[in-house]
Symmetry: C2
DNA sequence: AAATTTAAAAACTATTTTGGTTTTTTAAGT
DNA sequence: ACTTAAAAAACCAAAATAGTTTTTAAATTT
């Protein structure tokens, strides 16, 4: 891991905790245990830093995805394991980070986040197709429509007012939202596995 | 239909088209073909007008729902017919109207829209339960969780950036989002009907 | 141990952002 | 049409912050 990567790895976490708008370069330098000078030797300015952090976290996600695919695992395993991970981590901080970028760094948003989203949709589409060829999902689905819907659905559980003021947990909501949607995509074969999973996880 | 109801009926449409924030009382009076004086004889102020318009449109929806229920129709018919209507009307204007109320008339939002939403969720929950007792939906579902999720899901199709910049229609998106989610809720019996419907509507 | 390199700390400036004030415009209500 | 209240815009001063430069300290090399 290069110095630059270390900085990005560190700073992404900082951004997720504190947001990127109100965080100052002094604070970032302090958080990384270095002087501003060193920071500026690695990144031309704050925009550059944020942009590269976004790209970096996308790379991490992508490589995790690739290793999942490469492992040639069963589609349903990938799905349910990913699902378990998704509602254990704090998706909402990532989402509000993204929202802040859109609002206060529109250039970065246009250039970077859009393509990150595209990448995400591409992954989803590939997974979907894999599931179809393995016989878990019904055939008459257009991946170009379903994939962005999936991205959107995942966002709601974390983001919306669904959980606020009600007596349901985020993981409960996530399950009923995402798992039920996936159940809607399944064939008999896939449904069995999801129903089994739900039986063991309620 | 009383004068007051006529005004509300008219003004709701106006609000849906133009929003309620920037529309002036002068414009509303003109739109209704009356003087401001007549308007103010029926509503104490703009807040009152907006509040009553919200309640009125909710009443309309509710009575349509009640007549559906009263007709003792098959659950799946209600669902699929309602679904067809939903993606033919312009849900998005209703949603942005609601958003404007939340933003600029928070008092009305707290007092009125919240209970409208509650009413909507109650209807959804009732429909869900009906569907369960009729054997279309799986049993192990908590209506208090599913109902608000359904409301939320319907919003996405109309509202989000899903349809923007992509080559898919809103109705296509709505179908793949809402119908697939419902499909996820179904038993064998309900699934047959949805699959039949999808076969005839693609 | 002196010299050299490296990076942190601190100091500094030039922009940006923010908070508060006044003026102007808009729109409610009579 | 008129009055009044409230919202928006324009404006300014003060604070905060990005980015640069200088100084200090510590590690490394010779």
């Amino acid at each position: 891991m290069t110095v630059k990567e270390k900085i990005m790895d560190n700073t992404v976490n900082f951004f997720l905790k504190e947001g990127c708008r109100k965080v100052t370069m002094d604070e970032i330098a302090a958080y990384n245990g270095m002087s501003k000078r060193t920071l500026y030797e690695n990144f031309t300015d704050k925009n550059d830093l944020i942009r590269q952090c976004v790209l970096y976290s996308n790379e991490l996600e992508k490589s995790s995805y690739l290793s999942n695919i490469a492992s040639q695992e069963d589609m349903m395993d990938i799905l349910l394991r990913g699902h378990e991970r998704n509602f254990s981590i704090d998706l909402s901080s990532m989402i509000s980070f993204m929202d802040e970028v859109r609002k206060y760094f529109p250039d970065i948003y246009r250039q970077t986040i859009r393509e990150v989203k595209e990448a995400h949709c591409t992954m989803m589409a590939e997974l979907l197709t894999k599931g179809q060829t393995e016989g878990y999902f019904i055939k008459n689905l257009d991946a170009r429509i379903i994939a962005p819907i999936l991205s959107e659905i995942m966002k709601i559980a974390a983001h919306s007012e669904l959980t606020q003021g009600r007596e349901m947990s985020q993981s409960e909501t996530y399950k009923m939202l995402v798992l039920i949607y996936f159940r809607g995509l399944t064939t008999e074969k896939g449904r069995k596995i999801i129903d089994e999973f739900m039986k063991n996880n309620n």
